[in-house]
Symmetry: none
DNA sequence: ATTATTTTGTTGCTTATCCCACAAACTACT
DNA sequence: AGTAGTTTGTGGGATAAGCAACAAAATAAT
């Protein structure tokens, strides 16, 4: 390639130097864009794209369309891919559940994408309650408002940005709350289940320490069975869902006397339905 | 109108509600993209574009191509304005201190902007040690690597994204570690001091539980005296600084037999060297 | 109810980014 | 050297984002 010399700029930087500079830049600025970096380093956009992808792989930056931004706090995993798709459902569930909470209550909230949405909904309402959680995102979301947040101790689990372990369980045993609101990865007629053992134990303990035992669960989890059993249906008081369960599960829920709260999709929209040519879902 | 609209209805949000949620989202995630927001709010991309532009106008977010990111490093807004300025110094101090830590060690790290830098430096080195901290950013930064992170319980303090309180202190008393590394807001010949009472108590307890008691402090803190006394100079073993203290403070440090480690400005390239091992596998 | 104002959605078009595969250039190693 | 492996650049088609102006609702005001 022609070593094009441009006004005072570097001819060619090695890969590592480029990437170090990118990281440095992101310490000062919240966001850089690819086109800008390509010009600065006198390299092609593809090269910079590869740089950003590599850095994002290592979790050093957060990739975005057209550029990248600093991972702000240690990255919030957002375990997504599909999480983005299901956000609308989770949001509806979360809002419905958040509406139940009154000022002055004490509650426990566990970790997971659904409960993070719950935390956002509560933060938005700015409810003045006391919350015990093992989820760092939940604590951070609620901590800025009127709520009083108590974080559990424990071993940090990056996959969910939460803490787990014996310290967590032991800590929870010191408290009793009005209500607990938890999520789950599996929900069937047999009850609540989890794929990760550590999280199952937390949920179980929270259920034990709470007066009202409430579950937030998306309909995509119906029928799913995780590795570890958390609780049977008789261990629950309320479930918040985005769609009514099918008959078999529904029958089991009724038999257990569980209050089913469905977050409806369209409460006051008669016209919007017909004008949704592109985005039919949500 | 729309009084009881709160619960479970995400059908249509008003402008202000949308924008509040966007800000909330950016507390957790470094970057949001327009297409994603449009889907979530069931609104057109244009609307969201207008939202982001408006928020950016107010300086509440940082606009980017295709989305927006949180402004500055601000999500740990905390600390203060000067945090951005002093980043380079803190980074040097942090790298110097991080180089001291070996695999298998146990250490306590407290909260603050300097110790977050320390956590980043340790994360780069990927040291395999056990860490106890009350800082959420520190936990999240180190949690993804080889380190084993134990988070303290306590009341969440949004100003520093850390936990404090009696639960924290009580928890710390159960542990003994090889080394503790803490920051401070004030450092003078009389010792270490803090402006916030809760944080002072944490630091004091950590110093008590550690074999090696090490302080990371920028030269801008020299001579500063906070409200609450944390420890005298005789309570410290090592200080990591970015510049040699003046004679009066220096004399006091010598008298106390404190090891002074100065992070020189010149030996840069630390950044590129730190990243080298990481890029082998790209 | 009827305006006025604000807010949102849509259309058409331009531009930028993405992604993939392959070729060119560079580096390291025997 | 020469070769193998890496790193970078280029091209083209697909996709997403930007922009501007106007139309359609929704909201507020009279």
């Amino acid at each position: 390639m022609v070593p094009a010399e441009q006004g005072g700029n570097v001819g060619k930087l090695k890969k590592s130097e480029r990437r170090a500079q990118i990281l440095l830049e992101l310490k000062l600025r919240p966001h850089v864009r690819i086109s800008e970096l390509a010009r600065r380093f006198n390299a092609s956009a593809e090269t910079l794209r590869r740089d950003l992808d590599a850095l994002a792989q290592d979790g050093l930056i957060h990739r975005a369309h057209g550029g990248a931004s600093a991972p702000s706090r240690g990255h919030y995993p957002s375990l997504d891919e599909r999480t983005v798709e299901r956000t609308a459902e989770r949001e509806r569930i979360a809002h419905l559940a958040a509406a139940e909470v009154h000022d002055g209550e004490t509650l426990m909230i566990d970790s997971g994408s659904t409960t993070i949405e719950l935390a956002k909904a509560l933060a938005y309402r700015d409810v003045s309650c006391s919350i015990i959680t093992n989820s760092l995102p939940v604590a951070m979301t609620l901590g800025h408002g009127a709520a009083n947040v108590m974080l559990c101790p424990g071993e940090y689990q990056p996959s969910e940005s939460a803490v787990i372990g014996t310290e967590t369980l032991e800590f929870l045993r010191n408290y009793t709350v009005d209500r607990c609101m938890i999520g789950t990865s599996g929900f069937s007629a047999e009850g609540v289940s989890e794929t990760v053992h550590g999280f199952a134990a937390i949920k179980r303990e929270m259920l034990r320490r709470a007066g009202l035992r409430q579950l937030l669960v998306g309909s995509e989890k119906f029928g799913q069975k995780g590795l570890v059993r958390v609780a049977g249906l008789d261990g629950l008081d309320t479930i918040f869902v985005d769609a009514r369960p099918q008959k078999k599960l529904l029958a089991a829920l009724d038999a257990a006397g569980i209050d089913i709260r469905v977050a409806d999709r369209v409460p006051t929209r008669t016209h919007s339905e017909q004008m949704k040519p592109r985005e039919e879902n949500t």
